[in-house]
């Protein structure tokens, strides 16, 4: 059974690119337009991996991670940040709230695929 990945980004083109890259490798993709939408969709079903942007309307990525980590179903689900933010301070915050990793945009599709495979197989 194909593993499911939730991609959360307010940029439709980034969501399309992530879907394009990961669908070709056989993953099922759920798209969310911001942190709140991502949280709503994560509540409806448990996913195998969350890929989230940081700067989004309504709810940012760090808040989303913090909220998800408070849910028993998402204690151990890998969550990767995929953002243009690259400062060490932001990465430290991400690690503190429970992010599994940090990918700085623009992403290389092949490298993204390698990381996803490494994290969820």
């Amino acid at each position: 059974m194909a593993k499911t990945i939730l991609t959360v980004d307010d940029s439709s083109s980034i969501r399309q690119m992530v879907s394009f890259t990961l669908k070709s490798a056989g993953y099922d993709i759920i798209e969310a337009v911001d942190g709140q939408d991502g949280l709503d969709k994560a509540k409806n079903r448990t996913v195998n991996l969350v890929l989230t942007d940081q700067n989004m309307p309504r709810m940012d990525g760090l808040t989303l991670i913090k909220t998800l980590r408070a849910m028993p179903a998402y204690k151990t689900v890998p969550i990767l940040m995929l953002t243009t933010e690259s400062s060490d301070a932001m990465k430290t915050q991400g690690r503190a709230v429970g992010a599994t990793g940090w990918i700085v945009k623009p992403f290389d599709p092949q490298k993204l695929l390698e990381v996803v495979k490494k994290v969820i197989g």
């Binding site: 083109s13 394009f20 070709s24 700067n55 690259s86 945009k105 599709p109």
Partner: protein
């Protein structure tokens, strides 16, 4: 009141006073006033003239004072006036700039989405083309099976070649055996010839025996009655000799038949051996050539498939680079949003300055406390813009793929 307005006002006042004086003179004259009344009237006119002069000078003083006032206040009033008149137009252009940025972002999003769909379609078409090529060559539509099939094809060619070699070897062996058979038949022919020689000896012996029996019969006849028994023996010997000769002829005939048969067999076997050998060698040459062509064709197709596979991989790589590059839209979008917010800060500051200019122009007195509050509001807005500048969400200035950290 400006200078022109004041002069007009003074002229109206002077005209009113002149009318009052003329009416007074006319009343005194017509109503029978004397010289003293005339003098009184003239005094009235003088007073009016004095009042006019006073008013005129007073007006001139006011004008001079107003000019000084204007000289002092003019620069501030002009700025205020420009601000009051233009702040709405500035607001319109700020809104227009924001609208343009929104439009740029919308166009970029639309274009990138379509480009991405095109790349996706292109990649799928190349994959389909690759699969079709595989299916034409192998009947399978996946790389693993096609490779296995190509190997099977090579195995088939090698196996067929080996079988043919064995078959040709077997035919060659048969031919060799046939040739040995021919040699052995030659040996049989020699032996048959020897038999014939022996038969010739037997014929000779039979002839001599016949001659001897004839001589014995003659001698028995000469001996008369006493040789009668000997004559019987001689006759029997002659009969035996005749039978020996007859047998010898029969054997010779049979041996000649055998010899002919052996010759025919030798010829057939020799011909067959020769034909088998030639056929086998010709067939082997032809089949080797065919198999070589099939092998070359197979290798050629495998090379084509491998090249196509390599091209497919290269397309994947190029599309990957395109996908990385197309993410500029996300970064540009964030920068546009950032600029949008900064323009909003500047617009708000400009709006407030314009509003205050309007208030001042309308004659409202701005207290020192109010000025401090205004400065604080403006500083607050610019501080917000400064803070935004300090934490731009995009720091990259090149489209190289970013770092990846796994915690």
């Amino acid at each position: 009141m400006n200078k022109a307005q004041r002069q007009k006002h003074n002229m109206k006042l002077l005209a009113f006073m002149a009318v009052v004086a003329l009416v007074s003179i006319m009343l005194h004259g017509f109503l029978g006033g004397g010289i003293s009344a005339t003098i009184e009237t003239l005094l009235h006119v003088g007073m009016i003239a004095a009042i006019y002069v006073f008013l005129l000078r007073s007006s001139q003083r006011e004008d001079r004072s107003h000019e000084v006032e204007l000289r002092n206040a003019k620069p501030q009033s002009a700025v205020e006036s420009v601000l009051a008149e233009t702040h709405n137009r500035f607001a319109t252009h700020f809104a227009g700039a924001n609208g343009d940025l929104d439009q740029v972002q919308a166009l970029l999003t639309d274009a990138i989405g379509k480009l991405l769909q095109s790349f996706n379609g292109m990649q799928q078409l190349i994959q389909s083309q690759h699969d079709i090529a595989l299916s034409i060559v192998t009947g399978h539509q996946d790389q693993e099976n096609s490779t296995h099939h190509a190997e099977s094809m090579e195995e088939f060619i090698n196996s067929t070649s080996d079988t043919l070699k064995e078959m040709v070897g077997s035919i060659v062996n048969n031919s060799k055996i046939a040739m040995e058979l021919v040699d052995r038949m030659d040996a049989v022919k020699t032996q048959v010839s020897e038999i014939l020689d022996v038969l010739a000896e037997i014929d000779g012996i039979a002839k001599q025996t016949n001659l001897l029996s004839l001589n014995a019969a003659i001698e028995a006849a000469r001996a008369g009655e006493s040789g009668r028994g000997f004559a019987v023996v001689a006759d029997e010997v002659r009969k035996l000799s005749s039978r020996s000769e007859q047998f010898s002829r029969q054997i010779r005939t049979s041996v000649a038949g055998v010899n002919t048969a052996i010759n025919d067999a030798e010829s057939s076997v020799s011909k067959m051996a020769s034909l088998d050998m030639q056929f086998a060698l010709d067939s082997k040459t032809k089949i080797d050539l065919t198999l070589k062509q099939v092998k070359e064709l197979n290798e050629g197709m495998r090379d084509v498939i491998q090249q196509q596979h390599a091209i497919s991989n290269q397309v994947d790589e190029v599309v990957g680079k395109a996908v990385t590059s197309l993410q500029f839209q996300d970064m540009v979008g964030q920068l546009i949003q950032h600029s949008h917010t900064r323009i909003d800060c500047i617009e708000q500051a400009w709006q407030r300055i314009g509003r205050w200019a309007n208030e001042e122009q309308q004659g409202q007195v701005i207290s020192p406390e109010r000025i401090v509050q205004m400065q604080q509001e403006i500083n607050g807005l610019f501080q917000a813009a400064d803070n935004l500048s300090a934490r731009s969400p995009v720091r990259q200035d090149k489209l190289e793929s970013g770092d990846i950290d796994l915690f």
